[in-house]
């Protein structure tokens, strides 16, 4: 019985400690997100007779977020979902990817550069074999005024669909390449001390896929929002009554003084 009581007390105190930690994490965590609605039209520019569509139209959404206890380095997660068609082939096309693992570096007021590793799938009925991809994606969102630079590059490794292996002539290290650079013209807000922004953007796209090269135009609408970057303040140190230990303000991380 005594053991049960002791165990209950230990368990309860552990839960109380856990609650305290969650509250502290809630205070210290900072994050943000960006959302793109976008449509891209791509035209093949190679003369190859590769079995790929001549045109590709994709419309969809990119939703990315970041979370951290640091003002500069953050955990990044994202997803890109797009669907559309091959213009003359009339086939259905899709390009989806999830990025569960990533890191971002924040700079300036609301700018961020991220690298994400994920899993995806791309295909088009009739013209592009369906394949699972392992993409590595770099994102850059820079600027906190009326203009914001939006850039994205992706190198993907194709699993399955042997016809799509080594399909990026410019990149021997990957099977497919995809990049977009755009400029957003819009608004920046600082309501309630939260930096946010939105606006329409236009950009240029480039893609290498199944041995063919594509160039295209991207248009869309973008939103960004983030908590203000909070830099950690050095905590005041406390020396205990006997002058033997120096601890942080919470009485932790004590160092015995010589």
């Amino acid at each position: 019985m005594k053991a049960l009581i002791v165990a209950a007390i230990v368990f309860a105190s552990g839960r109380a400690e856990a609650r305290t930690d969650w509250m502290r994490i809630g205070r210290e965590v900072q994050g943000g997100a960006w959302l793109h609605y976008e449509a891209t039209i791509l035209q093949q520019i190679t003369d190859d007779t590769a079995p790929v569509p001549d045109q590709l139209i994709l419309a969809g959404v990119r939703l990315h977020g970041f979370l951290s206890t640091s003002a500069s380095v953050a955990y990044h997660i994202g997803m890109d979902l797009a669907a559309g068609g091959t213009l003359h082939g009339g086939g259905f096309a899709y390009d989806v990817a999830l990025f569960p693992i990533g890191v971002g570096v924040r700079f300036g007021r609301t700018s961020i550069a991220t690298v994400g590793l994920g899993v995806g799938a791309i295909g088009a009925t009739g013209t592009l074999d369906d394949a699972v991809t392992l993409p590595l994606e770099v994102n850059l969102e820079m600027g906190s005024g009326r203009l914001r630079l939006l850039a994205r590059g992706r190198a993907a490794y194709v699993a399955g669909a042997a016809s799509r292996h080594d399909g990026a002539p410019s990149a021997p290290f990957a099977d497919e390449l995809d990049a977009t650079i755009g400029l957003r013209v819009g608004h920046h807000y600082e309501e309630y001390d939260f930096p946010t922004g939105n606006g329409y953007f236009v950009g240029a796209s480039y893609r290498e896929l199944a041995g063919a090269k594509f160039v295209g135009l991207t248009i869309g609408y973008s939103i960004d929002l983030a908590q203000p970057r909070r830099f950690r303040q050095p905590e005041p140190e406390v020396i205990d009554n006997r002058g033997e230990r120096r601890c942080d303000a919470r009485g932790r991380n004590c160092v015995r003084l010589l």
Binding site: I41, L81, Y189, I223
Partner: protein
């Protein structure tokens, strides 16, 4: 390419209904929407019903997250921006609609287990009241959550001239006037047949002529 250019011009509606409140000679019920605050103002709208009986100066508001009386909910309904009038009912039809809203709005909201996305939310309320009160009008494509029916559902469209199937992931709608519309994760795209417009998940939800 033409389609891309049209999307780039997102937010263009020809023939919008006037924001001037109708005279108070007879009862009036109006369905309006406004954008959420920045930075979501380009992608999400919120609906409210404004009700005024004959001879009165103030409007009674029915919505999720608000309510009460207002003097001019056509121009100023905080915190929502850029209001659009979607439908106005007058006279006996408005009296019937006002009584119906009075009867159904409170109990519906009392049972609401609110969820910002994908629903049920304020747009689900707008759609539910249109159906409960047999008011033939449509909420815009950017009223995300209007088609929330839980795991799966099917219905006649609020206009009454089409059918729709709803899931949280996908909504498909087809109708004589409504045209064809697909929602993926709440993002709508389609073609409205009459009045003609392209349905987009941005701004007022359509590029073309104002809705019926």
């Amino acid at each position: 390419m033409k389609w891309l250019v049209l999307v780039a011009l997102g937010g263009c509606i020809i023939g919008k209904q006037s924001l001037d409140p109708p005279p108070n000679d007879v009862a009036t019920v109006a369905l309006l929407t406004g954008t959420l605050t920045h930075p979501l103002d380009g992608i999400a709208r919120h609906p409210w019903f404004a009700v005024r009986m004959a001879g009165q100066d103030t409007w009674e508001i029915y919505e999720v997250g608000g309510g009460g009386s207002e003097r001019d909910p056509f121009h100023h309904h905080q915190p929502y921006l850029t209001p659009i009038v979607h439908a106005v009912w007058r006279g006996a039809e408005a009296e019937r609609a006002a009584a119906c809203l009075e009867k159904h709005a409170g109990p519906w909201k009392a049972k609401l287990d609110y969820r910002f996305y994908p629903g049920p939310n304020s747009n689900t309320f707008g759609d539910a009241m249109l159906r409960a009160c047999h008011l033939h009008a449509s909420l815009p494509a950017t009223a995300i959550g209007k088609d929330w029916r839980g795991a799966i559902g099917a219905n006649i469209t609020t206009e009454g001239t089409g059918i729709q199937i709803e899931t949280p992931l996908l909504v498909f709608r087809i109708g004589l006037f409504e045209g064809v519309e697909v929602h993926v994760l709440g993002l709508a795209i389609g073609v409205d047949l009459w009045p003609p417009a392209i349905i987009v998940p941005l701004g007022p939800g359509r590029i073309g002529f104002a809705d019926r």
